[in-house]
Amino acid sequence: MGIKEFCFKKSLWVFHLSAGSCNNCDIEILDLLTPRYDVERFGMKLVGSIRHADVLLVTGIVTNKTKPRVLEVYEQAPKPIIVIAVGACPCTGGIFASGYNFAGPLDKVIPVDAYIPGCPPKPEAMLAGIMKLLSPPAPQENKA
């Protein structure tokens, strides 16, 4: 198995970055910590510094002002790091794509490993997205 799968077999530490969001997605991410979804039982927790993180969750359209910060955070992140774009905004810009302060979408700024669309995506959708990203590939795919 690849180094990503090897490293991430255990619990994931997540760093959340808001690059100009309306806060809907951010609150749904925090909801994951609360007793109903309780991702801490999977070992996932939110950390305060990118240097301790395995996963970078980004929400929000990337505005002109947050773009340098997003790049800076990505530079500081220990590699390998999984980058997940949460919500319609970092995926494509959503309804704000026609604004004059739009500097995204996220994959034009940093490489993205997974997209979780939704406005906002439900916590179940976020969990499903992370699990899908980390599940081992199905046996047939290894034949080639």
Binding site: T63, N64, K65
Partner: protein
Amino acid sequence: MNIEQYNAELKGRFPQIKGIEVVNTKRLMVHIPQEALAPITDYWFNQLQYRYIIVSAMDSADGYELIYHYSDDKTGWIMNLNVLLPHDKPEIESMTPIVYGIEWIEREIMDIMGIKFLNHPLPKRFLLPESWPEGEYPYRRKIRKGDR
């Protein structure tokens, strides 16, 4: 509130008022020249104790319209002062000495509409990033009177 009585009294106090209209239910619009802005603001904010809401800026065909919104919470009326600035000279005195909280919105309007507020305590760029080009005001529509 007896609006006719109120209008008559206001016009009596400030004869420079160009016009008063009731725009919608409980919404009053008072059109004034630049010079009358400070005295009426002082009267409304300090004497009548109206609550400061915000200032809107519009780029109309006749000029830049600045609308100062105040609320009379006792009656539920929203009272507005409408000042028209000419396109070639968009300058007006800052109201920060009278309404302390107006500082922010004046800086915002300077950034997005390019109207100059004279004697503003901190006239620096804010909302838009540092790299935004000077002289580019995103909210100007550039439609002028006589355009087809």
